[in-house]
């Protein structure tokens, strides 16, 4: 009687060789391969990654091709349309717009990444710690969160960054300060159920200190949410920063960001529209590509999502 080799109990019939799973017969996908496959199946998301990488490369290596510095003035070319000499044209003072867009993109990207990182870390630690420790820590954290929710944050943002004199580090710091708490509240609600799970109880009864439970067990479990929050945070930070700079409350000359460039372009939009086209295109590509990436990540990381098809 021939038995199916996979049906043999390796403990009961130790003499026979243990069943070997043929490689390639039924491959187990690793976690990352699975995520990668689900992500690449989402074609807009892949497009978003491509656009975003191109933008980053442009911000990093764009200055190598620039013929002018962004503060350098070319008095022979005032308000010139795009030409071989000035690829994106010049403004009314003779600044080369190509150099300004590259610098502005760098600035906007830097602020966005710093803000998104800070916001994600701060919200993750405070949200999970508040849920895990409970008691007084939780009450204090929630009080601060609820207070900030009612506070006129955009006003604070405008006043504080206005008085900072346009230093991008201050703007980034203030942006972190006014944007962490919404995410922290979501994470707190999620962690409430997480802290009642068996592995957390087990860790606690094994004597693992509280902070280590937070960092080793709670935060990794909301990892996919944090990744998505990070990408959406980049979009939000870019929008907030460019909005502020557009109004003149954010990054100030001689430093430029995409927002302040659009602000300058807006004042002369009918006479020299290229002043608006190029920074606006860079900004839109940046936000849209990041949003597409976030959407793809959500489908790839969420086990209940069916948008990416099977597996």
């Amino acid at each position: 009687m021939a038995t199916d080799p996979s049906m043999v109990d390796p403990l009961a019939e130790a003499e026979t060789a243990p069943p070997v799973v043929e490689p390639g017969q039924r491959k187990r996908l690793s976690k990352w391969r699975l995520y990668g496959r689900r992500f690449t199946r989402n074609r807009p998301a892949v497009g978003g990654v491509v656009i975003f990488v191109l933008l980053v490369l442009f911000a990093l290596f764009g200055p190598l091709f620039a013929k002018y510095d962004h503060v350098e003035l070319d008095f022979l070319a005032l308000s010139d349309p795009p030409s071989p000499e000035h690829w994106f044209g010049t403004n009314n003072a003779g600044n080369d717009l190509y150099a300004m867009v590259v610098v502005g993109l760098q600035r906007s990207l830097l602020i966005a990444v710093v803000v998104a990182t800070g916001t994600t870390i701060l919200s993750a630690v405070i949200g999970t710690a508040a849920a895990y420790f409970g008691g007084r820590i939780e009450r204090v954290a929630l009080f601060v969160i609820h207070f900030l929710m009612v506070a006129p944050t955009f006003l604070l943002l405008a006043m504080m960054s206005n008085s900072s004199g346009g230093d991008w580090k201050v703007i980034a710091l203030v942006l972190i300060l006014v944007s962490w708490f919404f995410q922290a509240r979501t994470i707190w609600t999620l962690s409430l159920s997480l802290r009642e799970r068996e592995f957390v109880h087990a860790a606690r009864y094994m004597g693992v200190p509280g902070l280590r439970i937070v960092f080793r067990h709670l935060i990794p479990n909301i990892g996919s949410l944090l990744v998505i929050n990070f990408t959406l945070g980049v979009v939000g930070a870019v929008m907030a920063e460019t909005g502020l700079s557009f109004l003149g409350f954010g990054v100030k000359l001689p430093d430029v960001s995409l927002g302040s460039l659009i602000g300058i372009g807006a004042s002369s939009i009918s006479s020299s529209p290229w002043m608006f086209y190029f920074p606006a295109a860079a900004l839109t590509l940046l936000t849209v590509s990041m949003a597409l990436i976030a959407d793809g990540l959500r489908d790839a990381l969420d086990p209940t999502s069916a948008a990416g098809g099977r597996a």
């Binding site: 807009p44 009612v150 006129p152 006003l155 405008a158 006043m159 206005n162 939009i269 529209p273 936000t287």
Partner: protein, 313 residues
């Protein structure tokens, strides 16, 4: 909470804004005494102790509902009362339109999940939702200028809420529409997608539920089942969201108003900060906080009215 926030804003505003700087460096230069004489009656002189200034302001609000004056002497009450309606004129139409479009698209794409229509609608919405409002608004301005140039007359006005010297009902109506179209379009383009995604995911949750399958089993067509059973339940959270956004009609849109030069609340917000108008800043913050609170109350009321499962004792 609102009162506490407002008072805190008052102190914060004093920490960051300096009305005195409006008068320093003027030509011809004003003497110290002249500046004090200008600021003192407006309760904006930083020579008087902060607590005294605060009490003057707070008692004025408390007992006379007087929110103070700007550094140039305009009443903040008048400004807010006037600008509120300008913002409302802009935001009312936009809010209605973007809600309706968003919900309609959400229903459409939920009932055709993962088919071409749904994919296209979702892709478009992701893109439009993430176009910065500044870019959308200025892009529309460029298009409108090109259009006006092509037609030969000014069809769309790109600045202001109305032209001077227009009277009569129909000329005023036409004039208003000419000014309203562009900012409304900009707001709708970037705003509708949130309702699209919300409505779509909520409706999908309901379409998969047992009572909708039951309705289908009774012999209703898919359209009927969605309209009569799934849509009704899924509209409740959407309505809450809409109710929450209604007060936003009066607080206005900062960027849109400043691009299209509408003198509404959003533009007032920028103006007060850049002109060191402390009383104005605080009034804007308080107005915003009250409107948020009203929004929360409206949302609660909407749930109670619409959802029979919620009972208020």
């Amino acid at each position: 909470m609102v009162v506490a926030v407002t008072n805190l804003t008052y102190f914060l505003a004093w920490a960051y804004l300096d009305p005195r700087s409006n008068y320093v460096g003027r030509r011809p230069p004003l003497s110290e005494q002249q500046i004090v004489n200008l600021l003192e009656p407006r309760n904006l002189d930083d020579g008087t102790p902060l607590l005294v200034r605060w009490w003057n302001w707070f008692s004025g609000v408390l007992f006379r509902w007087d929110w103070g004056v700007s550094p140039t002497g305009q009443s903040v009450n008048d400004q807010v009362a006037y600008r509120m309606w300008i913002s409302a004129e802009l935001m009312l139409g936009a809010t209605i339109l973007l809600t309706l479009i968003g919900i309609a698209l959400g229903v459409y794409s939920a009932s055709r999940q993962y088919r071409v229509g749904d994919r296209v609608a979702q892709g478009t919405s992701i893109i439009t939702m993430n176009i910065p409002i500044v870019v959308a608004a200025l892009g529309l301005v460029l298009l409108a200028i090109a259009f006006n140039g092509a037609v030969g007359t000014t069809v769309f006005y790109v600045t202001g809420a109305s032209s001077p010297g227009v009277s009569g009902f129909f000329p005023t109506l036409v004039d208003t529409i000419q000014h309203l179209t562009l900012p409304t379009l900009a707001l709708v383009i970037v705003g509708y997608a949130q309702y699209h995604f919300l409505q779509r995911s909520l409706l999908l949750d309901n379409i998969k539920s047992d009572y909708v399958r039951m309705a289908r089993a009774k012999g209703l067509t898919k359209q009927q089942a969605i309209r009569k059973h799934a849509l009704r339940t899924s509209l409740i959270p959407v309505t809450t969201q809409v109710a929450f956004s209604i007060p936003g009609i009066f607080t206005g849109a900062v960027l849109t108003e400043s691009i299209f030069a509408w003198k509404g609340m959003g533009q007032y917000f920028i103006e007060t900060i850049s002109k060191n108008d402390i009383n104005g800043v605080v009034a804007v913050a308080a107005f915003g906080a009250v409107m948020t609170a009203i929004g929360a109350i409206l949302a609660d009321i909407a749930v109670v009215v619409l959802d029979p499962r919620v009972r208020v004792s």
